[in-house]
Symmetry: C2
Subunit: 150 residues, 2 copies
């Protein structure tokens, strides 16, 4: 079963030197943290802030390729976790059939935000997602921890 | 008229804190330097080195989207320079018609290298490309200057 999510925020994780993209259930309180790299975090931050850049960034290019080909990016789905690597699918629809393309979740979310495509997570991911230590850390975050790149 | 180019190398430009992607004429000696950002330079370096990453990078995702949709990325063209900003087009072919998508040259080259698409430059760009100072600087580069991220 798919659970619809929204982007709750991003924060920098000094332990891994990566960014954490926090997804939160649209109809619930469950959160899913996904570790992502700086270029993708920057791109997601620009999309969240609806910042227009003079030239298309790489995820804008993906949006433009789809639009030019009259392909709708209908949804994205975070599908699996293996060894702390997250897997996602981008669903493309040409009006006749759906095509699924393997993607990192960070790319998938950066694209979804640009085309207002809904973000889903397989429900079993929500159960396998995180360690107690991470849960504790996330619970103790203060609002100001989220501010840096939002 | 279009001039076919190949990637000659990349080097770091400490003056701008950016990378320079050097294109060289396939049938000639003309070179075209293009200033690009670190994420795109990293992606181009991985493509040049034919490095396989465990998960698809953003430009691999573009390649995979095209392949899944049975779209051929037939060529890329660097088309214009305005105020030190370079413009390019990615040419997509579905077997019936060609679609042109606006792109930064760095994204276009990162994609072209992954699908073995030829790289072209509008000939008038080669004439307007660079200052005497840059020409001098490029002429005095030593081979070791190119090694860092290749």
């Amino acid at each position: 079963m798919l659970i619809q999510m929204k982007v709750e925020g991003m924060l920098f994780d000094p332990r891994s030197n990566m960014y954490i993209l926090l997804l939160k259930e649209v109809n619930g309180n469950g959160t899913l943290p996904i570790w992502i790299g700086k270029p993708e975090a920057d791109s997601i931050a620009l999309a969240l802030g609806k910042v227009e850049t003079p030239r298309p960034l790489t995820h804008d290019l993906i949006k433009n390729i789809a639009e030019n080909l009259k392909i709708k990016i209908s949804k994205i789905i975070v599908t699996d976790i293996q060894d702390n690597t997250y897997y996602a699918l981008i669903c493309l629809n040409d009006g006749k059939k759906e095509t699924l393309v393997d993607s990192r979740p960070s790319d998938a979310v950066a694209v979804a935000l640009r085309v207002n495509a809904p973000i889903f997570v397989e429900d079993r991911i929500m159960e396998m997602k995180s360690s107690d230590e991470l849960e504790e850390w996330l619970k103790n975050l203060k609002p100001e921890d989220f501010g840096n790149i939002m």
